[in-house]
Protein backbone atom coordinates (compact mmCIF):
# COMPACT_ATOMS: atom_id res chain seq x y z
CA UNK A 1 0.00 0.00 0.00
CA UNK A 2 2.86 2.34 0.68
CA UNK A 3 4.17 1.89 -2.84
CA UNK A 4 1.24 3.87 -4.22
CA UNK A 5 2.09 6.93 -2.21
CA UNK A 6 5.83 6.85 -2.80
CA UNK A 7 7.20 9.27 -5.33
CA UNK A 8 9.33 7.90 -8.11
CA UNK A 9 11.91 10.63 -7.88
CA UNK A 10 13.68 11.03 -4.55
CA UNK A 11 14.07 14.64 -3.53
CA UNK A 12 17.46 16.01 -2.65
CA UNK A 13 17.43 17.42 0.83
CA UNK A 14 19.56 19.75 2.87
CA UNK A 15 20.22 18.64 6.47
CA UNK A 16 17.88 21.36 7.74
CA UNK A 17 15.01 20.00 5.66
CA UNK A 18 15.55 16.48 6.97
CA UNK A 19 15.28 17.68 10.55
CA UNK A 20 12.13 19.61 9.66
CA UNK A 21 10.40 16.64 8.07
CA UNK A 22 11.43 14.34 10.94
CA UNK A 23 9.37 16.61 13.20
CA UNK A 24 6.50 16.52 10.74
CA UNK A 25 6.79 12.75 10.52
CA UNK A 26 6.46 12.63 14.28
CA UNK A 27 3.38 14.86 14.05
CA UNK A 28 1.88 12.47 11.51
CA UNK A 29 2.55 9.53 13.83
CA UNK A 30 0.91 11.37 16.74
CA UNK A 31 -2.14 12.15 14.63
CA UNK A 32 -2.40 8.55 13.50
CA UNK A 33 -2.19 7.25 17.07
CA UNK A 34 -4.70 9.86 18.27
CA UNK A 35 -7.24 8.83 15.62
CA UNK A 36 -6.69 5.14 16.30
CA UNK A 37 -6.71 5.47 20.10
CA UNK A 38 -10.52 5.11 20.56
CA UNK A 39 -10.48 1.87 18.56
CA UNK A 40 -7.43 0.55 20.44
CA UNK A 41 -9.14 1.44 23.70
CA UNK A 42 -12.30 -0.33 22.58
CA UNK A 43 -10.25 -3.43 21.69
CA UNK A 44 -8.54 -3.39 25.10
CA UNK A 45 -11.85 -2.92 26.92
CA UNK A 46 -13.38 -5.84 25.01
CA UNK A 47 -10.80 -8.14 26.68
CA UNK A 48 -11.53 -6.88 30.21
CA UNK A 49 -14.05 -8.28 32.65
CA UNK A 50 -17.19 -6.14 33.04
CA UNK A 51 -16.01 -4.99 36.50
CA UNK A 52 -12.61 -3.86 35.23
CA UNK A 53 -14.14 -2.23 32.15
CA UNK A 54 -16.35 0.05 34.24
CA UNK A 55 -13.77 1.62 36.54
CA UNK A 56 -12.72 5.26 36.74
CA UNK A 57 -9.87 6.01 36.28
CA UNK A 58 -9.58 3.23 33.70
CA UNK A 59 -7.29 0.35 34.55
CA UNK A 60 -4.60 -0.44 32.00
CA UNK A 61 -3.17 -3.36 33.95
CA UNK A 62 -6.41 -5.29 34.47
CA UNK A 63 -6.20 -8.97 33.58
CA UNK A 64 -7.42 -10.01 30.15
CA UNK A 65 -10.34 -12.33 29.53
CA UNK A 66 -12.50 -13.52 26.64
CA UNK A 67 -15.71 -13.18 28.67
CA UNK A 68 -16.90 -10.20 26.61
CA UNK A 69 -16.69 -12.27 23.43
CA UNK A 70 -18.30 -15.30 25.11
CA UNK A 71 -21.18 -13.13 26.30
CA UNK A 72 -21.59 -11.61 22.87
CA UNK A 73 -21.90 -15.01 21.22
CA UNK A 74 -24.69 -15.88 23.61
CA UNK A 75 -22.91 -17.86 26.33
CA UNK A 76 -24.31 -15.54 28.99
CA UNK A 77 -27.89 -16.37 28.03
CA UNK A 78 -28.46 -13.28 25.86
CA UNK A 79 -29.73 -13.35 22.28
CA UNK A 80 -27.37 -15.07 19.86
CA UNK A 81 -25.85 -12.75 17.25
CA UNK A 82 -25.55 -15.51 14.65
CA UNK A 83 -28.97 -15.04 12.96
CA UNK A 84 -28.28 -11.32 12.51
CA UNK A 85 -24.75 -11.96 11.23
CA UNK A 86 -26.12 -14.49 8.74
CA UNK A 87 -28.85 -12.03 7.67
CA UNK A 88 -26.27 -9.30 7.11
CA UNK A 89 -24.13 -11.67 5.06
CA UNK A 90 -27.09 -12.76 2.92
CA UNK A 91 -28.30 -9.18 2.39
CA UNK A 92 -24.84 -7.83 1.57
CA UNK A 93 -23.66 -10.65 -0.69
CA UNK A 94 -26.96 -11.09 -2.54
CA UNK A 95 -27.45 -7.36 -3.15
CA UNK A 96 -23.84 -7.02 -4.30
CA UNK A 97 -24.35 -9.81 -6.85
CA UNK A 98 -27.59 -8.22 -8.03
CA UNK A 99 -25.84 -4.85 -8.36
CA UNK A 100 -23.13 -6.45 -10.51
CA UNK A 101 -25.75 -8.14 -12.68
CA UNK A 102 -27.51 -4.81 -13.36
CA UNK A 103 -24.56 -2.41 -13.35
CA UNK A 104 -22.17 -4.29 -15.64
CA UNK A 105 -24.37 -4.16 -18.76
CA UNK A 106 -25.35 -0.56 -17.95
CA UNK A 107 -21.72 0.48 -17.56
CA UNK A 108 -20.93 -1.29 -20.83
CA UNK A 109 -23.63 0.72 -22.59
CA UNK A 110 -22.28 3.92 -21.06
CA UNK A 111 -18.59 3.48 -21.76
CA UNK A 112 -17.49 0.94 -24.33
CA UNK A 113 -20.22 1.49 -26.86
CA UNK A 114 -21.86 4.61 -25.43
CA UNK A 115 -25.52 5.38 -26.10
CA UNK A 116 -26.41 8.91 -27.17
CA UNK A 117 -26.34 11.44 -24.34
CA UNK A 118 -24.67 8.94 -22.06
CA UNK A 119 -23.59 11.65 -19.61
CA UNK A 120 -27.27 12.56 -19.02
CA UNK A 121 -27.99 8.95 -18.11
CA UNK A 122 -24.98 8.89 -15.81
CA UNK A 123 -26.21 12.02 -14.04
CA UNK A 124 -29.66 10.51 -13.67
CA UNK A 125 -28.10 7.65 -11.74
CA UNK A 126 -26.17 10.04 -9.50
CA UNK A 127 -29.25 12.21 -8.91
CA UNK A 128 -31.11 9.24 -7.42
CA UNK A 129 -28.34 9.06 -4.83
CA UNK A 130 -29.22 12.58 -3.77
CA UNK A 131 -32.85 11.70 -3.19
CA UNK A 132 -32.99 11.30 0.60
CA UNK A 133 -33.80 7.78 1.76
CA UNK A 134 -36.51 9.03 4.12
CA UNK A 135 -38.49 10.45 1.19
CA UNK A 136 -39.51 6.99 0.04
CA UNK A 137 -39.39 5.11 3.31
CA UNK A 138 -43.09 5.34 4.24
CA UNK A 139 -44.51 4.01 0.93
CA UNK A 140 -41.95 1.21 1.01
CA UNK A 141 -42.99 0.39 4.58
CA UNK A 142 -46.70 0.42 3.66
CA UNK A 143 -46.03 -1.69 0.57
CA UNK A 144 -44.07 -4.21 2.65
CA UNK A 145 -46.79 -4.32 5.28
CA UNK A 146 -49.58 -4.93 2.77
CA UNK A 147 -47.67 -7.63 0.88
CA UNK A 148 -46.38 -9.44 3.98
CA UNK A 149 -42.82 -8.51 3.09
CA UNK A 150 -42.03 -6.92 6.46
CA UNK A 151 -39.22 -8.64 8.33
CA UNK A 152 -38.13 -10.30 5.09
CA UNK A 153 -34.44 -10.21 4.21
CA UNK A 154 -35.12 -10.19 0.45
CA UNK A 155 -36.83 -6.82 0.70
CA UNK A 156 -33.57 -5.46 2.11
CA UNK A 157 -31.69 -7.09 -0.77
CA UNK A 158 -33.84 -5.13 -3.27
CA UNK A 159 -33.42 -1.86 -1.36
CA UNK A 160 -29.67 -2.26 -0.86
CA UNK A 161 -29.37 -2.92 -4.58
CA UNK A 162 -31.12 0.37 -5.34
CA UNK A 163 -28.93 2.11 -2.77
CA UNK A 164 -25.67 0.89 -4.36
CA UNK A 165 -26.59 0.64 -8.03
CA UNK A 166 -25.95 4.34 -8.87
CA UNK A 167 -22.48 4.27 -7.29
CA UNK A 168 -21.67 0.97 -8.96
CA UNK A 169 -22.73 2.24 -12.41
CA UNK A 170 -20.54 5.33 -11.97
CA UNK A 171 -17.54 3.36 -10.74
CA UNK A 172 -17.75 0.64 -13.35
CA UNK A 173 -18.32 3.17 -16.11
CA UNK A 174 -15.01 4.80 -15.18
CA UNK A 175 -13.23 1.44 -14.89
CA UNK A 176 -14.57 0.14 -18.21
CA UNK A 177 -13.66 3.44 -19.87
CA UNK A 178 -10.03 2.51 -19.22
CA UNK A 179 -10.29 -0.31 -21.74
CA UNK A 180 -8.83 1.11 -24.99
CA UNK A 181 -11.37 1.08 -27.82
CA UNK A 182 -8.56 0.27 -30.27
CA UNK A 183 -8.00 -3.13 -28.66
CA UNK A 184 -11.69 -3.98 -28.91
CA UNK A 185 -11.80 -2.92 -32.56
CA UNK A 186 -8.70 -4.96 -33.33
CA UNK A 187 -10.34 -8.00 -31.76
CA UNK A 188 -13.48 -7.39 -33.84
CA UNK A 189 -11.46 -7.22 -37.03
CA UNK A 190 -9.87 -10.52 -36.08
CA UNK A 191 -13.39 -11.92 -36.01
CA UNK A 192 -13.92 -12.18 -32.25
CA UNK A 193 -17.53 -12.21 -31.15
CA UNK A 194 -18.96 -10.25 -28.23
CA UNK A 195 -18.66 -12.98 -25.55
CA UNK A 196 -15.01 -13.56 -26.50
CA UNK A 197 -14.28 -9.82 -26.44
CA UNK A 198 -15.90 -9.47 -23.05
CA UNK A 199 -14.08 -12.39 -21.42
CA UNK A 200 -10.70 -12.10 -23.15
CA UNK A 201 -10.27 -8.35 -23.64
CA UNK A 202 -12.56 -6.36 -21.34
CA UNK A 203 -12.62 -8.55 -18.23
CA UNK A 204 -8.84 -8.74 -17.56
CA UNK A 205 -8.52 -4.93 -17.64
CA UNK A 206 -11.72 -4.16 -15.74
CA UNK A 207 -11.57 -6.95 -13.15
CA UNK A 208 -9.72 -5.05 -10.36
CA UNK A 209 -12.24 -2.21 -10.70
CA UNK A 210 -15.15 -4.63 -10.58
CA UNK A 211 -13.68 -6.17 -7.43
CA UNK A 212 -13.37 -2.74 -5.80
CA UNK A 213 -16.97 -1.91 -6.76
CA UNK A 214 -18.22 -5.13 -5.20
CA UNK A 215 -16.28 -4.41 -2.03
CA UNK A 216 -17.79 -0.95 -1.62
CA UNK A 217 -21.32 -2.24 -2.27
CA UNK A 218 -20.71 -4.95 0.33
CA UNK A 219 -19.49 -2.39 2.91
CA UNK A 220 -22.43 -0.02 2.41
CA UNK A 221 -24.96 -2.86 2.65
CA UNK A 222 -23.28 -4.29 5.74
CA UNK A 223 -23.32 -0.86 7.45
CA UNK A 224 -26.90 0.16 6.58
CA UNK A 225 -29.20 0.87 9.52
CA UNK A 226 -32.29 2.96 8.62
CA UNK A 227 -33.95 0.52 6.18
CA UNK A 228 -33.05 -2.45 8.35
CA UNK A 229 -34.35 -0.76 11.48
CA UNK A 230 -37.71 0.18 9.92
CA UNK A 231 -38.35 -2.87 7.76
CA UNK A 232 -37.04 -5.79 9.80
CA UNK A 233 -37.86 -6.99 13.28
CA UNK A 234 -37.02 -10.36 14.67
CA UNK A 235 -36.41 -12.80 11.82
CA UNK A 236 -34.59 -10.62 9.32
CA UNK A 237 -32.72 -8.42 11.81
CA UNK A 238 -29.27 -7.44 10.54
CA UNK A 239 -26.05 -7.00 12.54
CA UNK A 240 -26.31 -3.16 12.89
CA UNK A 241 -29.89 -3.58 14.18
CA UNK A 242 -28.57 -6.17 16.64
CA UNK A 243 -26.02 -3.57 17.79
CA UNK A 244 -28.78 -1.00 18.45
CA UNK A 245 -29.88 -3.33 21.26
CA UNK A 246 -26.89 -1.98 23.18
CA UNK A 247 -27.86 1.69 22.89
CA UNK A 248 -29.43 1.96 26.32
CA UNK A 249 -27.41 -0.68 28.17
CA UNK A 250 -26.01 1.42 30.97
CA UNK A 251 -22.69 0.30 32.33
CA UNK A 252 -23.29 -3.36 32.87
CA UNK A 253 -22.09 -4.72 29.54
CA UNK A 254 -19.29 -2.45 28.41
CA UNK A 255 -16.90 -5.28 27.50
CA UNK A 256 -19.70 -7.03 25.63
CA UNK A 257 -20.60 -3.83 23.72
CA UNK A 258 -16.95 -3.45 22.67
CA UNK A 259 -16.63 -7.09 21.64
CA UNK A 260 -19.89 -6.88 19.67
CA UNK A 261 -18.87 -3.66 17.89
CA UNK A 262 -15.50 -5.09 16.91
CA UNK A 263 -16.79 -8.46 15.71
CA UNK A 264 -19.52 -6.84 13.61
CA UNK A 265 -17.05 -4.32 12.15
CA UNK A 266 -14.47 -7.00 11.36
CA UNK A 267 -15.63 -7.83 7.80
CA UNK A 268 -15.62 -4.13 6.86
CA UNK A 269 -12.27 -3.44 8.54
CA UNK A 270 -10.67 -6.41 6.78
CA UNK A 271 -12.14 -5.51 3.39
CA UNK A 272 -11.25 -1.84 3.77
CA UNK A 273 -7.64 -2.39 4.82
CA UNK A 274 -7.15 -4.84 1.96
CA UNK A 275 -8.22 -2.29 -0.65
CA UNK A 276 -7.31 1.14 0.70
CA UNK A 277 -6.44 2.75 -2.64
CA UNK A 278 -9.34 1.28 -4.57
CA UNK A 279 -11.62 2.41 -1.77
CA UNK A 280 -10.94 6.12 -2.32
CA UNK A 281 -11.07 5.78 -6.06
CA UNK A 282 -14.42 4.02 -5.77
CA UNK A 283 -15.93 6.31 -3.16
CA UNK A 284 -14.99 9.34 -5.22
CA UNK A 285 -16.85 7.73 -8.15
CA UNK A 286 -13.63 7.13 -10.02
CA UNK A 287 -12.81 10.83 -10.20
CA UNK A 288 -9.62 10.42 -8.14
CA UNK A 289 -7.05 8.11 -9.61
Amino acid sequence: MSTAVTRDKPRTRTPLKIRGSAGLGLAAWLAGILFFLPIAWMALTSFHSEEDAATNPPSLAASLTLDGYRDFFGAGGGASPWPSLINSTVASVASTLLVLLLALPAAYALSIRPVKKWTDVLFFFLSTKMLPVVAGLLPIYLFAKNTDMLDNIWLLVILYTSMNLPIAVWMMQSFLAEVPVAIIEAAQIDGARLPTILTRVVAPIALPGIAATSLICFIFSWNELLFARVLTGVVAQTAPVFLTGFITSQGLFLAKVCAASLVISLPVLAAGFAAQDKLVQGLSLGAVK
Binding site: P114, K116, L225
Partner: protein
Protein backbone atom coordinates in the same frame (compact mmCIF):
# COMPACT_ATOMS: atom_id res chain seq x y z
CA UNK B 1 -35.48 13.44 -12.30
CA UNK B 2 -33.78 13.68 -15.66
CA UNK B 3 -35.32 10.54 -17.11
CA UNK B 4 -34.06 8.68 -20.17
CA UNK B 5 -32.92 11.42 -22.48
CA UNK B 6 -32.54 9.05 -25.41
CA UNK B 7 -36.15 8.06 -26.10
CA UNK B 8 -37.50 11.23 -27.84
CA UNK B 9 -35.05 10.84 -30.73
CA UNK B 10 -36.88 7.74 -31.95
CA UNK B 11 -40.41 9.06 -32.14
CA UNK B 12 -40.34 11.51 -35.12
CA UNK B 13 -38.68 9.01 -37.43
CA UNK B 14 -41.70 6.67 -37.47
CA UNK B 15 -43.59 9.06 -39.78
CA UNK B 16 -41.20 8.43 -42.65
CA UNK B 17 -40.67 5.16 -44.48
CA UNK B 18 -40.37 2.63 -41.67
CA UNK B 19 -38.84 -0.11 -43.83
CA UNK B 20 -35.23 1.04 -44.38
CA UNK B 21 -35.02 2.68 -40.96
CA UNK B 22 -35.80 -0.51 -39.09
CA UNK B 23 -32.26 -1.98 -38.96
CA UNK B 24 -30.88 1.33 -37.64
CA UNK B 25 -33.54 1.55 -34.98
CA UNK B 26 -32.93 -2.06 -34.09
CA UNK B 27 -29.26 -1.33 -33.65
CA UNK B 28 -30.04 1.71 -31.52
CA UNK B 29 -32.17 -0.43 -29.26
CA UNK B 30 -29.47 -3.07 -29.12
CA UNK B 31 -27.10 -0.40 -27.83
CA UNK B 32 -29.66 0.80 -25.33
CA UNK B 33 -30.86 -2.61 -24.15
CA UNK B 34 -28.04 -3.30 -21.64
CA UNK B 35 -28.94 -0.04 -19.91
CA UNK B 36 -32.63 -0.74 -19.48
CA UNK B 37 -32.65 -3.24 -16.57
CA UNK B 38 -30.67 -0.88 -14.34
CA UNK B 39 -32.74 2.16 -15.37
CA UNK B 40 -36.08 0.46 -14.89
CA UNK B 41 -34.96 -0.95 -11.56
CA UNK B 42 -33.90 2.49 -10.28
CA UNK B 43 -37.09 4.19 -11.44
CA UNK B 44 -39.31 1.54 -9.83
CA UNK B 45 -37.46 1.30 -6.52
CA UNK B 46 -36.52 4.96 -5.95
CA UNK B 47 -38.84 7.20 -7.99
CA UNK B 48 -42.18 5.41 -7.54
CA UNK B 49 -42.02 5.45 -3.72
CA UNK B 50 -41.31 9.16 -3.88
CA UNK B 51 -44.39 9.75 -6.04
CA UNK B 52 -46.39 7.78 -3.45
CA UNK B 53 -44.91 9.97 -0.69
CA UNK B 54 -46.04 13.02 -2.66
CA UNK B 55 -49.61 11.67 -2.86
CA UNK B 56 -49.76 10.68 0.82
CA UNK B 57 -48.49 14.12 1.84
CA UNK B 58 -51.84 15.61 0.78
CA UNK B 59 -53.84 13.35 3.08
CA UNK B 60 -54.70 13.59 6.74
CA UNK B 61 -53.76 10.06 7.66
CA UNK B 62 -52.77 8.62 11.00
CA UNK B 63 -51.91 4.93 10.75
CA UNK B 64 -53.63 4.26 14.10
CA UNK B 65 -56.95 5.54 12.70
CA UNK B 66 -56.94 4.12 9.16
CA UNK B 67 -60.67 4.82 8.62
CA UNK B 68 -60.32 8.54 9.31
CA UNK B 69 -58.22 9.14 6.20
CA UNK B 70 -59.25 12.26 4.27
CA UNK B 71 -57.91 14.70 1.71
CA UNK B 72 -56.18 17.55 3.49
CA UNK B 73 -54.79 19.68 0.68
CA UNK B 74 -51.83 21.65 1.87
CA UNK B 75 -52.68 21.35 5.57
CA UNK B 76 -49.79 18.98 6.27
CA UNK B 77 -47.36 21.35 4.66
CA UNK B 78 -48.53 24.37 6.63
CA UNK B 79 -48.45 22.28 9.81
CA UNK B 80 -44.95 21.07 9.06
CA UNK B 81 -43.70 24.56 8.22
CA UNK B 82 -45.16 26.10 11.38
CA UNK B 83 -44.06 23.27 13.67
CA UNK B 84 -41.22 24.65 15.83
CA UNK B 85 -39.71 21.17 16.32
CA UNK B 86 -39.49 20.62 12.61
CA UNK B 87 -38.05 24.05 11.95
CA UNK B 88 -35.47 23.28 14.59
CA UNK B 89 -34.59 19.99 12.92
CA UNK B 90 -34.04 21.80 9.61
CA UNK B 91 -31.58 24.08 11.37
CA UNK B 92 -29.96 21.13 13.16
CA UNK B 93 -29.48 19.32 9.84
CA UNK B 94 -27.81 22.35 8.28
CA UNK B 95 -25.55 23.00 11.29
CA UNK B 96 -24.62 19.33 11.68
CA UNK B 97 -23.79 18.87 7.99
CA UNK B 98 -21.86 22.12 7.60
CA UNK B 99 -19.85 21.64 10.80
CA UNK B 100 -18.89 18.05 10.06
CA UNK B 101 -18.02 18.64 6.40
CA UNK B 102 -15.96 21.77 7.03
CA UNK B 103 -14.12 20.44 10.11
CA UNK B 104 -13.29 17.08 8.56
CA UNK B 105 -12.12 18.80 5.35
CA UNK B 106 -9.80 21.14 7.27
CA UNK B 107 -8.37 18.42 9.54
CA UNK B 108 -8.22 16.02 6.59
CA UNK B 109 -6.24 18.60 4.60
CA UNK B 110 -3.75 18.98 7.45
CA UNK B 111 -3.31 15.22 7.71
CA UNK B 112 -2.99 14.83 3.95
CA UNK B 113 -0.21 17.44 3.90
CA UNK B 114 1.56 15.57 6.72
CA UNK B 115 1.25 12.27 4.91
CA UNK B 116 2.36 13.68 1.56
CA UNK B 117 6.00 13.58 2.66
CA UNK B 118 8.27 10.60 3.23
CA UNK B 119 8.80 9.43 6.77
CA UNK B 120 9.37 6.13 8.48
CA UNK B 121 6.20 4.06 8.78
CA UNK B 122 4.02 6.20 6.51
CA UNK B 123 2.01 3.16 5.39
CA UNK B 124 1.28 2.23 9.01
CA UNK B 125 0.16 5.76 9.89
CA UNK B 126 -2.12 5.82 6.87
CA UNK B 127 -3.68 2.53 7.94
CA UNK B 128 -4.17 3.80 11.51
CA UNK B 129 -5.87 6.94 10.15
CA UNK B 130 -8.25 5.03 7.88
CA UNK B 131 -9.55 2.77 10.67
CA UNK B 132 -12.24 5.18 12.02
CA UNK B 133 -13.85 5.36 8.57
CA UNK B 134 -14.04 1.57 8.38
CA UNK B 135 -15.81 0.98 11.68
CA UNK B 136 -19.52 0.15 11.20
CA UNK B 137 -21.33 3.49 11.85
CA UNK B 138 -23.50 2.10 14.65
CA UNK B 139 -20.40 0.58 16.28
CA UNK B 140 -18.59 3.92 16.02
CA UNK B 141 -21.55 5.72 17.59
CA UNK B 142 -21.72 3.14 20.41
CA UNK B 143 -17.96 3.56 20.96
CA UNK B 144 -18.37 7.31 21.44
CA UNK B 145 -21.54 7.03 23.51
CA UNK B 146 -20.42 4.33 25.95
CA UNK B 147 -16.65 3.99 25.81
CA UNK B 148 -15.61 7.64 25.46
CA UNK B 149 -18.44 9.93 26.62
CA UNK B 150 -19.87 7.96 29.53
CA UNK B 151 -19.69 10.24 32.60
CA UNK B 152 -18.86 7.38 35.01
CA UNK B 153 -16.31 5.21 33.26
CA UNK B 154 -15.75 6.82 29.84
CA UNK B 155 -12.20 7.31 28.58
CA UNK B 156 -12.51 11.12 28.41
CA UNK B 157 -13.42 11.45 32.08
CA UNK B 158 -10.87 8.77 32.92
CA UNK B 159 -8.18 10.91 31.31
CA UNK B 160 -9.41 13.96 33.25
CA UNK B 161 -9.22 11.84 36.40
CA UNK B 162 -5.66 10.77 35.59
CA UNK B 163 -4.56 14.33 34.95
CA UNK B 164 -6.53 16.16 37.63
CA UNK B 165 -6.67 13.55 40.42
CA UNK B 166 -9.79 12.74 42.43
CA UNK B 167 -11.09 16.31 42.36
CA UNK B 168 -11.13 16.50 38.55
CA UNK B 169 -14.31 17.71 36.87
CA UNK B 170 -16.32 14.86 35.36
CA UNK B 171 -18.61 16.43 32.76
CA UNK B 172 -21.55 14.58 31.23
CA UNK B 173 -20.56 15.24 27.61
CA UNK B 174 -23.70 14.06 25.84
CA UNK B 175 -26.08 15.90 28.18
CA UNK B 176 -24.05 19.12 28.30
CA UNK B 177 -23.17 19.47 24.61
CA UNK B 178 -25.32 16.91 22.73
CA UNK B 179 -24.90 18.31 19.22
CA UNK B 180 -21.15 18.79 19.60
CA UNK B 181 -20.92 15.21 20.92
CA UNK B 182 -22.54 13.91 17.72
CA UNK B 183 -20.46 16.23 15.53
CA UNK B 184 -17.20 15.12 17.16
CA UNK B 185 -17.94 11.45 16.50
CA UNK B 186 -18.86 12.18 12.87
CA UNK B 187 -15.81 14.38 12.31
CA UNK B 188 -13.67 11.53 13.66
CA UNK B 189 -15.31 9.14 11.17
CA UNK B 190 -15.23 11.43 8.12
CA UNK B 191 -11.79 13.07 8.47
CA UNK B 192 -10.03 9.92 7.16
CA UNK B 193 -12.23 9.94 4.06
CA UNK B 194 -11.41 13.57 3.30
CA UNK B 195 -7.74 12.85 4.03
CA UNK B 196 -7.68 10.02 1.48
CA UNK B 197 -9.28 12.10 -1.29
CA UNK B 198 -7.00 15.10 -0.62
CA UNK B 199 -3.92 12.85 -0.39
CA UNK B 200 -4.76 11.44 -3.81
CA UNK B 201 -5.05 15.05 -4.99
CA UNK B 202 -1.65 15.97 -3.56
CA UNK B 203 0.00 12.96 -5.20
CA UNK B 204 -1.29 14.05 -8.59
CA UNK B 205 0.33 17.48 -8.18
CA UNK B 206 3.13 18.27 -10.58
CA UNK B 207 6.23 18.14 -8.35
CA UNK B 208 8.36 19.82 -11.06
CA UNK B 209 6.19 22.91 -10.79
CA UNK B 210 6.65 23.01 -7.01
CA UNK B 211 10.42 22.60 -7.40
CA UNK B 212 10.48 25.44 -9.94
CA UNK B 213 8.52 27.70 -7.59
CA UNK B 214 10.94 26.88 -4.78
CA UNK B 215 13.87 27.74 -7.04
CA UNK B 216 12.27 31.09 -7.70
CA UNK B 217 12.25 31.70 -3.96
CA UNK B 218 8.66 30.86 -3.02
CA UNK B 219 8.24 29.97 0.66
CA UNK B 220 6.19 27.00 1.88
CA UNK B 221 3.13 29.19 2.51
CA UNK B 222 3.31 30.72 -0.97
CA UNK B 223 3.63 27.29 -2.55
CA UNK B 224 0.60 26.13 -0.56
CA UNK B 225 -1.49 29.24 -1.25
CA UNK B 226 -0.76 29.68 -4.96
CA UNK B 227 0.02 26.15 -6.17
CA UNK B 228 -1.30 23.47 -3.83
CA UNK B 229 -4.65 25.00 -2.90
CA UNK B 230 -5.76 25.85 -6.47
CA UNK B 231 -4.73 22.34 -7.54
CA UNK B 232 -6.70 20.80 -4.67
CA UNK B 233 -9.83 22.80 -5.45
CA UNK B 234 -11.64 20.07 -7.36
CA UNK B 235 -10.67 17.51 -4.73
CA UNK B 236 -12.02 19.78 -1.97
CA UNK B 237 -15.24 20.19 -3.98
CA UNK B 238 -15.54 16.46 -4.46
CA UNK B 239 -14.96 15.82 -0.76
CA UNK B 240 -17.57 18.35 0.34
CA UNK B 241 -20.10 17.06 -2.19
CA UNK B 242 -19.78 13.40 -1.22
CA UNK B 243 -19.52 14.24 2.49
CA UNK B 244 -22.70 16.35 2.29
CA UNK B 245 -24.65 13.61 0.50
CA UNK B 246 -23.93 11.18 3.31
CA UNK B 247 -23.99 13.48 6.35
CA UNK B 248 -27.27 15.26 5.43
CA UNK B 249 -28.85 11.81 5.58
CA UNK B 250 -27.13 10.72 8.78
CA UNK B 251 -29.37 8.60 10.94
CA UNK B 252 -27.05 6.20 12.76
CA UNK B 253 -25.17 8.67 14.98
CA UNK B 254 -28.24 10.74 15.91
CA UNK B 255 -30.27 7.61 16.63
CA UNK B 256 -27.55 5.94 18.69
CA UNK B 257 -25.97 8.75 20.69
CA UNK B 258 -28.98 10.87 21.68
CA UNK B 259 -32.01 9.15 20.07
CA UNK B 260 -32.83 12.56 18.67
CA UNK B 261 -33.23 14.04 22.14
CA UNK B 262 -31.77 17.26 23.57
CA UNK B 263 -32.41 19.18 20.36
CA UNK B 264 -30.29 16.94 18.12
CA UNK B 265 -33.07 15.50 15.92
CA UNK B 266 -32.15 16.10 12.30
CA UNK B 267 -34.58 15.75 9.38
CA UNK B 268 -34.06 12.05 8.67
CA UNK B 269 -34.61 11.29 12.35
CA UNK B 270 -37.69 13.53 12.55
CA UNK B 271 -39.31 11.93 9.52
CA UNK B 272 -38.48 8.47 10.91
CA UNK B 273 -40.03 9.40 14.22
CA UNK B 274 -43.20 11.00 12.88
CA UNK B 275 -44.27 7.91 11.01
CA UNK B 276 -42.55 5.10 12.92
CA UNK B 277 -43.49 6.30 16.39
CA UNK B 278 -46.25 8.89 15.95
CA UNK B 279 -47.81 7.08 12.94
CA UNK B 280 -48.58 10.42 11.30
CA UNK B 281 -48.27 9.25 7.71
CA UNK B 282 -49.47 12.47 6.08
CA UNK B 283 -47.24 14.72 8.17
CA UNK B 284 -44.19 12.50 7.74
CA UNK B 285 -44.70 12.49 3.98
CA UNK B 286 -45.00 16.27 3.82
CA UNK B 287 -41.78 16.56 5.82
CA UNK B 288 -40.17 14.04 3.49
CA UNK B 289 -41.22 16.03 0.42
CA UNK B 290 -39.75 19.17 1.97
CA UNK B 291 -36.49 17.31 2.60
CA UNK B 292 -36.44 16.40 -1.08
CA UNK B 293 -37.07 19.99 -2.18
CA UNK B 294 -34.18 21.12 0.02
CA UNK B 295 -31.96 18.35 -1.33
CA UNK B 296 -32.89 19.24 -4.92
CA UNK B 297 -31.68 22.78 -4.39
CA UNK B 298 -28.37 21.47 -3.05
CA UNK B 299 -28.21 18.73 -5.69
CA UNK B 300 -28.68 21.18 -8.58
CA UNK B 301 -25.70 23.10 -7.31
CA UNK B 302 -23.76 19.93 -6.55
CA UNK B 303 -24.35 18.35 -9.96
CA UNK B 304 -22.95 21.49 -11.54
CA UNK B 305 -19.81 21.00 -9.46
CA UNK B 306 -19.63 17.35 -10.46
CA UNK B 307 -20.12 18.14 -14.13
CA UNK B 308 -17.12 20.44 -13.98
CA UNK B 309 -15.21 17.62 -12.29
CA UNK B 310 -16.07 15.21 -15.04
CA UNK B 311 -15.84 17.63 -17.92
CA UNK B 312 -12.63 16.16 -19.27
CA UNK B 313 -14.07 12.69 -19.07
CA UNK B 314 -17.30 13.71 -20.80
CA UNK B 315 -15.47 15.25 -23.75
CA UNK B 316 -14.57 11.72 -24.77
CA UNK B 317 -17.93 11.09 -26.47
Amino acid sequence: MTATASTPTVAPKTARAPGPKAPGRLRAWATRAPLLPALIFMVVVTQLPFVATLVISFFDWNALYPDARSFAGLDNYSEVLTDPDLRKSVLTTIVLTATVVIASLVIGLGLALLLDRRFRGRGVVRTLLIAPFLLVPVAAALLWKHVLYNPEYGLFNGLLHWVGGDGATQPDWVSNTPLIAIEASLIWQWTPFMMLILLAGLQSRDSELVEAARMDGAGPWQVFRYLTLPHLRRYLELGSLLGSIYIVQNFDAVFTITSGGLGTANLPYTVYQSFYQAHENGLASAAGVLVVIGSLIIATFALRVVSSLFREEASRS
